[in-house]
């Protein structure tokens, strides 16, 4: 087998370059790679761009820590708690360049990235004012289908520089498994130029072999780094291992609304991982 890719959170953070486009696993309060995000906040990395379909907690924390210069998402929400507090503030104050996208288009862009093709057609969308925004940015176009001559939206390939994906298990080479909800994580793994896997547990070949009739979520061909990170999604959930810590998320929300997100981050997220 090839060289082990096990490394520490700090070593993995060093794979990110200033200005990179990153994406993270999960959705609002689920399977976000929070231990990695803590390490990223602790680093001097900056000016990152961020793309995801429906981010929440992880994105808001990164925004509060002033790591992002650009955000592209279909929705950024704290759901029942309210608007994503730091994202909203940063967008309204133009501290970040916020590009709203739509689910089908984010998926299509990642599909193109995963398949190594320059663009991907997608249904729907035509008529939305989002089209003008994206045409201006050259991220979407409306073309005539060359076979039928009907209008169709095409999405430019999305290839994040780095995808950070929290999984249930991985071997030391990056052969990994996500259980339950997958969101777009397997696409992100395939679309990104570098993939950092953080895993609830590191397993050996024998453990994986029990899954020989099931699919892998990532293979060693996709993955650059593997980090052992038990409870690494906290306070977001890791179904079916642990639930979202809504008490902590609610606390963060209240702090962030009052402009004290970093206080909560230092006292809770950073303390947990450093």
């Amino acid at each position: 087998m090839p060289t082990s890719k096990i490394m520490s959170l700090n070593e993995a953070v060093d794979l990110i370059n200033n200005g990179d486009l990153i994406t993270i696993s999960g959705m609002t309060f689920f399977r976000n790679p929070m231990s990695f995000i803590a390490a990223l906040i602790n680093s001097n990395k900056k000016d990152l761009s961020f793309v995801d379909r429906e981010p929440g907690f992880g994105l808001d924390v990164l925004t509060a820590a002033n790591k992002l210069k650009m955000i592209r998402a279909a929705m950024a929400t704290f759901e029942h708690f309210g608007l994503s507090p730091s994202v909203r503030k940063a967008a309204e104050r133009k501290q970040v360049d916020y590009l709203e996208d739509t689910c089908g288009a984010v998926i299509a862009g990642l599909r193109a990235g995963a398949q190594g093709v320059p663009f991907m057609p997608v249904r729907g969308i035509i008529g939305s004012d989002l089209v003008k925004i994206h045409e201006k940015r050259n991220t979407w176009k409306i073309i005539k289908d060359p076979f039928t001559n009907e209008d169709i939206v095409i999405i430019k390939s999305i290839e994040p520089d780095v995808a950070i994906i929290h999984v249930h298990m991985s071997d030391e080479y990056g052969n990994s498994v996500i259980l339950g909800p997958k969101y777009e994580d397997e696409l992100k793994i395939r679309a990104a130029k570098k993939v950092i896997i953080t895993a609830e547990k590191i397993v050996d070949k024998e453990e994986l072999k029990k899954r020989n009739t099931e699919q892998l979520s990532s293979t060693l061909l996709h993955v650059t780094a593997v980090v052992n990170s038990k409870n690494g999604a906290w306070p977001t959930a890791m179904y079916p291992i642990y639930e979202a810590d809504y008490k902590a998320i609610g606390d963060y929300y209240n702090y962030a609304k009052e402009g004290k997100a970093m206080e909560w981050i230092s006292n809770n997220l950073m303390k947990r991982w450093y």
């Binding site: 759901e79 939305s128 339950g180």
Partner: protein
């Protein structure tokens, strides 16, 4: 018994689910989630329950609301996992029957705005974003929108059309709005008042808009308060009344 607008809205949202429908809810969709439970357990509708949380064929008896409607722990008894990617491909093939969308603004042509109040490049309020709205709005057979009945919400023209209503209406796709005062259907003639929630009259509905002209037909129904059985079913999935914190009354 409950005459609270929140509960009557849930009843209203659930009433559009029919047998065999493929019904999907997204994030931040507490009322739709409870409406799906209501449609299954009270109306006995035999439909396919799916959501952005990704468990497939959730058991409505086991739904327990949480601060996120994307929480897989809140929708259990499922038979396996089916991704949102898969759900949206099914929608792209024209096979999604009903989807719920919230909105911050809606206008006479059923355009909805979840993007920004004010100018996109210079927003007065940066909203969370439309999620699947732009993508699915032209495609899904029935779209049921829920919103606050407020002049800032029911407008003449949205600031930004995240979802394009004109296309839906021209294609005769069912487009319904449930507010905390009324049930409105969008047609080629414009928004038509179909019913008021118990406790409200027609004037409270038509006068409380920010320029949206609602057509009042001869016959306008009333959606009644919930009976004990209806309320019990909703309370079982939401014992702590998380739904009332959404501030629909």
């Amino acid at each position: 018994m409950s005459a609270r607008p929140t509960d009557i809205m849930i009843k209203c949202l659930g009433s559009f689910i029919e047998d065999k429908d493929y019904v999907y809810h997204g994030l931040d969709s507490l009322l739709p989630q409870l409406a799906m439970v209501y449609a299954s357990l009270y109306l006995k509708k035999d439909f396919i329950y799916h959501s952005v949380a990704e468990p497939f064929l959730t058991d409505p008896n086991q739904v327990m609301v949480r601060p996120s409607t994307g929480d897989p722990y809140s929708e259990q008894g499922n038979i396996a996992t089916v991704t949102t990617i898969d759900a949206f491909d099914i929608a792209a093939k024209g096979k999604m029957d009903l989807m719920y969308f919230g909105t911050a603004q809606i206008d006479e042509e059923a355009n909805i705005n979840l993007t920004a109040i004010g100018n996109y490049d210079n927003p007065k309020v940066k909203l969370p974003g439309g999620a699947a709205t732009a993508y699915l709005y032209p495609i899904v057979k029935k779209i049921i929108i829920w919103a606050r009945h407020d002049p800032r919400v029911l407008v003449k023209k949205v600031d930004f059309a995240t979802g394009n209503g004109t296309t839906r209406i021209n294609n005769n796709l069912k487009t319904i709005l449930c507010t905390n005062k009324a049930l409105i259907e969008f047609t080629k003639k414009g928004p038509i008042l179909k019913a008021v929630l118990q406790g409200f009259n027609i004037d409270q509905v038509v006068s409380n808009t920010g320029g949206m002209k609602i057509i009042v037909p001869e016959k306008v129904d009333t959606i009644n308060a919930l009976n004990e059985e209806e309320l019990k079913i909703i309370n079982k999935a939401d014992p702590n009344g998380l739904r009332y914190e959404e501030n629909y009354g």
